[in-house]
């Protein structure tokens, strides 16, 4: 269990014009589960390899428990990593795979045996110990890869997209298992993924990266509810947030924005007071599918809730609910309706807009407009 500080990490590959990492600052508390998330090419794997020492950084420092490890060899950093391809040694049995790192570090035989058994118990892979990796299924290989990392009891664990080679069902199972394991062992984990659901479900905190820059660092709830900019807002959440260009208007009842359906019907939606300074200007309204649903009696009296009828263009049943697509200001907008609520494509539906949790962005800077 150790604390990890990334201070102004910079990396430029030899011969490259652009920086791959443009000064990343993240503090990771002892026992914290941090996920690095972002689209491919955002630098998250480079950052992870830099922490492990597999790549050298061109600037900044990596500090573990107050000690700068930036210049150290990977083997001296006491960091373990689980790879996307598992990277199990094909010629060794599961037991030898797990014991390899211990053997190299000169641990006595008897202790190695105990440690391998402890890890195998923990991950329920004891019956597999004498098999070769090629005889195992994907999920079992995944477990062995985790076992190899756990056996050394390193200071920090790095997971590099460990679940992306598994099928959908197994991925969800292993996700739960990794979370359980973390809750039990309370280890410091940095977890790279491009899957935002994985990031949301596993993390204590999420770091969203794009083009080598940290976009936002916060708890899953913070990142989901109050995204710092359009990129974070669009990246987190599925189906993703809809962005509607609107103009802030002032009327007797307060501030509002007007949206127009595909058939010309309009609806004035109330917006919060902090948009005062933006009256008369264009803003981007970010609205999540769950903010638009079927009418709910209990919410009806709220000042920030409005109802309107719009034509449903497409319906996508997901099981627990139905995603209905309507067009507002020329943009497809997803609404999350109860699965029991009858909606048909091509017909009108009465929809309730809950404006309490919607967010607004500056169209120029693409940053979220914060309440004063």
């Amino acid at each position: 269990m150790s604390q990890l500080e990334l201070r102004d990490i910079r990396k430029t590959y030899a011969g490259a014009l652009d920086e791959t990492l443009k000064g990343i600052n993240i503090d990771i508390a002892s026992g914290e589960f941090l996920t690095l998330v972002g689209p491919s090419g955002c630098g998250k794997s480079t950052l992870m390899n830099s922490i492990a020492g597999l790549e050298t950084i061109t600037g900044g420092s990596i500090v573990v428990d107050g000690k700068d490890i930036s210049g150290m060899e990977p083997k001296d950093r006491d960091i373990a990593m689980v790879f996307q391809s598992y990277a199990l040694y094909p010629t060794m049995s599961v037991r030898e795979n797990i014991a390899f790192g211990l053997k190299i570090r000169g641990m006595p035989k008897e202790e190695i045996r105990q440690e391998v058994e402890r890890v195998a118990d923990l991950l329920q892979i004891s019956p597999l110990l004498d098999k070769k990796p090629s005889r195992l299924s994907g999920g079992q290989q995944q477990r062995v890869a985790m076992g190899r990392a756990l056996a050394r009891r390193p200071k920090i664990y790095l997971f590099d997209e460990p679940l992306s080679n598994l099928d959908a069902k197994l991925r969800v199972e292993m996700r739960t298992e990794i979370k359980k394991l973390h809750q039990r062992l309370k280890t410091t984990i940095v977890y790279v993924t491009h899957d935002q659901i994985e990031a949301m479900t596993l993390a204590d905190r999420i770091a969203v990266l794009k083009d080598g820059e940290l976009q936002q660092l916060g708890t899953p709830k913070e990142v989901y509810d109050t995204p710092e900019n359009l990129f974070v807002a669009s990246f987190m959440g599925s189906p993703s947030m809809s962005f509607i260009d609107v103009t802030v208007e002032r009327s007797d009842t307060g501030l509002s924005v007007t949206v127009e359906g595909s058939d010309g019907r309009t609806l004035a939606l109330p917006v919060p007071e902090y948009l005062e300074n933006w009256a008369g200007n264009r803003v981007v309204l970010g609205i999540r599918p769950e903010h638009i649903s079927q009418p709910d009696e209990q919410k009806r009296d709220n000042m920030m809730v409005e109802e309107g009828r719009f034509t449903v263009e497409v319906t996508e049943p997901t099981g627990p609910d139905v995603i209905a697509v309507i067009r507002l200001n020329g943009i497809d907008v997803q609404c999350r309706l109860d699965a029991e609520h009858p909606v048909e494509w091509g017909e009108d539906a009465e929809l309730m807009f809950d404006m309490r949790k919607v967010v607004f962005f500056d169209p120029q800077s693409e940053k979220r407009i914060r309440p004063q």
Binding site: N49, A52, G53, L54, E73, P74, K75, I79, A80, M81, F83, Q84, S85, Y86, A87, L88, Y89, P90, T91, F100, G101, I104, R105, P133, S134, R148, R152
Partner: protein, 289 residues
């Protein structure tokens, strides 16, 4: 389901097997003639048909070739030279294969600035004709004090072989996932530990390819053998040439053929023993992690 299984007596099948059989026969005829001739008596050879089986089977040709035939002024058969060839081939094959494996490991997993260029230049070594280097090599061996020794021949073959073996191993290791090396580095393994514990155990198929290739090349080499070795250190290829060219009256074709067979046997044996790896190694693309 019943009419799916067709028995093989269709004209096209018969034609295909016929052609294949014919090609096989044409290819094997020289070997067959060598074999049957080596078991004939000189009398039989003079009077009989080239393709006819011996009337009296005899191993006289073989024993004479092995221990009595004259190769120049000595008449001790090819026995000594056969062992010479082994003394030259075995170390040369092993050293060049290990060096190639090591080169391949560095050029694929520890790339440095200019490593691809270095690999490209090393490949030129595969295309340099033997004749070009004869004189400079002779001078070098002389300076090193290795002229006319088996060690000198080994050195020449190692140098020539490294280009090929590096090519084999480098291309094989490129297909091994880099994550294996990364995982091993995090596990605390160093440069040599990774090579000996992770990469080398994976290399059996390409090791066999390299082994067969190098063994065949070095064993069968005549030019380097005739130039850089003399007298007692000559390899069997050179001895065979001397044996065939030494005439003491009547030409003993049975002895010539037996000697040629002796010279060719080791490469045959190596291929039969390791051959299944040869095909597998040549077609091996990836290692499942």
């Amino acid at each position: 389901m019943t009419d799916v299984v067709r028995t093989g007596f269709r004209p096209s099948r018969i034609a295909i097997y016929g052609v294949l059989l014919l090609a096989c026969l044409v290819y094997l005829i020289p070997l067959i003639i060598m074999l049957i001739t080596s078991f004939k008596t000189p009398m039989d050879i003079r009077t009989g048909n080239l393709l006819a089986l011996p009337t009296d089977w005899t191993v006289m040709g073989w024993t004479k070739a092995w221990s009595e035939a004259c190769t120049g002024v000595q008449c001790e058969g090819v026995r000594g030279f056969f062992w010479n060839s082994f003394k030259m081939t075995v170390p040369a094959v092993l050293i060049s294969t290990l060096l190639g494996a090591f080169n391949g490991y560095v050029l694929s997993k520890w790339k440095f600035k200019g490593s691809d260029l270095m690999f490209g230049m090393l490949l030129f070594g595969c295309f340099v004709p033997f004749q070009v280097v004869l004189l400079p090599m002779a001078a070098t061996l002389g300076k090193l004090g290795l002229a006319n020794t088996t060690a000198g021949l080994v050195l020449v073959h190692v140098i020539y072989g490294v280009a090929f073996t590096t090519l084999f191993f480098r291309n094989y290791y490129v297909a091994v996932p880099d994550a294996l090396v990364k995982a091993a580095r995090l596990d605390g393994a160093g440069f040599f530990t990774i090579f000996f514990r992770i990469l080398l155990p994976l290399s059996t198929p390409i090791f066999m390819v390299s082994l067969i290739w190098q063994f065949t090349q070095i064993w069968n080499d005549f030019l380097f053998g005739v130039v850089f070795a003399s007298g007692d250190s000559q390899p069997i290829t050179v001895a065979l040439n001397n044996l065939v060219n030494t005439s003491t009256g009547v030409k003993e074709y049975n002895v010539d053929m037996a000697a040629a067979m002796i010279a060719a046997l080791p490469t045959l044996v190596v291929y039969i023993v390791a051959g299944k790896y040869f095909i597998r190694g040549l077609t091996a693309g990836s290692v499942k992690g």
